[in-house]
């Protein structure tokens, strides 16, 4: 276990700054998620921590030691690649034993450790198979077993669940999180899937264009996004953004509800909502349409839990409410979060 510190880290590929002035401290035993779209620099950052990529500038410390010049093998890290990168010519046993052989461990010790790791991930019965004889989920477990067997200081995971089907992914997410808690190793997890990030991270780092956009707990990020990028990247569907004068007002779809079910709201404001399409998804309903009372006519989404039985039809305009306390405000030019401004709400005709 170790603290990972990243100071003013840069990485340039030719003209492009893949990682731009990143400062980050990952606490001992923390599960930190790097979240961002493709090309945001999250994988480059992970590869620099692993030592597979050399930083253009800045410093990386693992356990207080500057590791910039150390090769991957000297950093006491374990990494799981998106492809799992199992050695196709070796059995599962030899795959897991491979990192132990590199440190010259004796045969009996290797066997004990491999068997313990295999039992931990429930793959003991697969030890004599080759990777090509395994399913996607089994391969992922082998990759994880190989990563833990060395008892690393830091775990680096590069989208390890993206090759699994949706059903298996939810299960693997839960298992992975439980397992990380159990062994308590500092973990850096890269993903472009905000559900994974929100569900697993102790803290989430949102990245875009090589820069850190915001660092915080999933709750903090969701409640108070630092800018419009974070606001629209998190949540499904993401936060609604409506322009008004020099600012952008944001509200989450589930905070925009039909009038009448707003008892819990402290200071509700009424906004007319022209519904154009209703999407029924079982546990919830998504309503697509336009608001025009606040600033310009803008397309927004409302997410109503299925508990609310209210009949809503496409093609009609209804009175919807949002809580003033749930609104976020952003600067129109920079997109950065600003202090609340006074809202002007015009009542649309014909409501």
């Amino acid at each position: 276990m170790a603290v990972v510190e990243i100071r003013q880290l840069y990485k340039a590929f030719g003209e492009v700054n893949a990682v731009n002035d990143v400062n980050l401290t990952i606490q001992e035993g923390e599960f930190l998620v790097l979240l961002g779209p493709s090309g945001s620099g999250k994988t480059s950052l992970l590869r620099m921590i692993a030592g597979l990529e050399k930083p253009t500038g800045g410093e990386i410390r693992i356990g207080g030691v500057v590791v910039n010049e150390l090769p991957p093998r000297a950093r006491k890290i374990a990494m799981v690649f998106q492809s799992y990168a199992l050695y196709p010519h070796m059995t599962v046993y030899n795959n897991i034993a491979f990192p132990l052989r590199s440190v010259g461990m004796d045969r009996i010790n290797i066997q004990t450790r491999v068997e313990r790791a295999a039992k931990m991930f429930n793959i003991y019965h697969l030890l004599q198979r080759k990777p090509r004889q395994l399913s996607g989920g089994e391969r992922q477990r082998v990759a994880l077993a190989r990563a833990v067997v060395r008892e690393p200081d830091v775990f680096l995971l590069d989208e390890p669940l993206s090759n699994l089907d949706a059903k298996l992914r939810a299960l693997a997410r839960d298992e992975l999180k439980q397992f990380q808690r159990q062994i308590g190793v500092t973990t850096v997890y890269v993903t472009h899937d905000q559900v994974e990030a929100m569900g697993m991270g102790d803290r989430v780092v949102v990245m875009n264009y090589g820069r850190v956009q915001q660092i915080g707990t999933p709750q903090a990020l969701y409640r108070a996004p630092a800018n419009t990028f974070v606001a629209t990247f998190l949540g499904s569907p993401p936060m609604n953004l409506v322009e008004q004068d020099n600012c952008i007002i944001g509200f989450h779809p589930e905070h925009f509800l039909p009038k009448g079910i707003d008892q819990h709201m402290q200071s509700p404001i009424t906004i007319p909502f022209e519904v154009t399409r209703v999407e029924y998804l079982g546990s919830e309903r998504f309503l697509y349409g336009y608001v025009q009372g606040v600033g310009e006519r803008t397309r927004v989404v409302s997410n109503i839990p299925s508990l609310v039985q209210l009949a809503i039809e496409a093609g009609r305009t209804y009175d919807f409410v949002a809580d003033l306390h749930d609104l976020s405000y952003f600067d129109k030019m920079s997109g950065d979060r600003i202090a609340p401004v006074r809202l002007q709400i015009a009542q649309a005709a014909g409501v």
């Binding site: 093998r73 990168a85 050695y87 491979f98 590199s102």
Partner: protein, 281 residues
């Protein structure tokens, strides 16, 4: 149903034709080897595809007792093995570095190296003979051992590049994370995975050297130093007399083992060529 049966029938018919076409030279060599002079040259009316008179071993006796055939085979083996070793030692690291380290230039360099292979030996043997003389290797097997890698190395490097590129970088990086240096990762992960490619290169380099003719003819004149391709033709064609049966026998004896090895590695061989084709696009 009938249409499907017809298609299958047609497929088998074409395959049979093709097999007859490719196997026929071997059959012709085999039957000729054991025919006596009388049957081969004088019996014009008889069916040439079968024995009309009793087969004979005289021709093989001539080949083994009256020529240096065994020496030629030994020489070919010596040259072949030496060239294979040199080729593998040079082409494996070259192809790895071109596939992994040189980026976009790697591909261009790979194609340029392959171009070298396309220069015909009929053009090159004149300057090469000067080099051979300069090195004092005239009339020695060493001349071939030095010259043959000039065409086996470029081709095999290009061929291996395809194999090397097909090995995921992830796997190699994983080995580096798992505690090995880059060299250690190459040794333990890249080489074992490139083994089919390396075997292809071994077979290819060996056959390429055994059927080479021009350099062997130009650089070596002493019978005891000749390899099979030049030795058989020079000792079994005396003036305008062709010892056809012995020539056929000499060819057959070396062709069969090579054909067997080719068949054994056929799948790998095709994979190697197509991979090379993709990277050399």
């Amino acid at each position: 149903m009938i249409r499907k049966a017809g298609q299958t029938g047609l497929t088998y018919f074409l395959i049979t034709l093709f097999i007859l076409f490719t196997a026929f030279p071997f059959y012709w060599m085999l039957i000729t080897t054991f025919k006596n002079d009388n049957e081969l040259y004088r019996n014009r009316e008889a069916n040439p595809l079968v024995f009309n008179q009793a087969p004979t071993l005289d021709n093989l006796r001539l080949l083994f007792n009256n020529t240096n055939y065994q020496t030629f085979v030994e020489n070919s083996l010596k040259v072949g093995i030496a060239v294979v070793v040199i080729t593998v030692l040079l082409a494996v690291p070259a192809s790895y570095s071109l596939a992994r380290l040189a980026g976009a230039w790697g591909e261009r360099l790979g194609i340029m190296i392959f171009m070298v292979y396309l220069i015909p030996p009929t053009l090159l043997f004149i300057p090469m003979s000067q080099i051979v003389s300069f090195l004092g290797l005239r009339d020695s097997l060493w001349s071939l051992i030095v010259i043959y890698p000039t065409f086996t190395v470029p081709f095999c490097t290009w061929l291996l590049m395809g194999f090397m590129k097909s090995i995921p970088v992830d796997v190699e990086e994983q080995a580096m994370v798992d505690g090995y240096s880059r060299f250690g990762a190459i040794l333990r992960v890249v080489f074992p995975l490139a083994l089919p490619g390396i075997l292809t290169v071994v077979v290819f380099a060996f056959t390429l050297t055994t059927h080479e003719f021009i350099y062997a003819l130009a650089f070596i004149t002493t019978s005891s130093q000749k390899v099979i391709s030049t030795g058989v033709t020079s000792e079994l064609i005396r003036g305008d007399v062709f010892f056809w049966q012995a020539i056929m026998g000499a060819g057959l004896l070396v062709a069969i083992p090579v054909a067997l090895v080719y068949n054994l590695f056929l799948d790998r061989f095709i994979a190697g060529f197509t991979m090379g084709a993709v990277t050399g696009k």
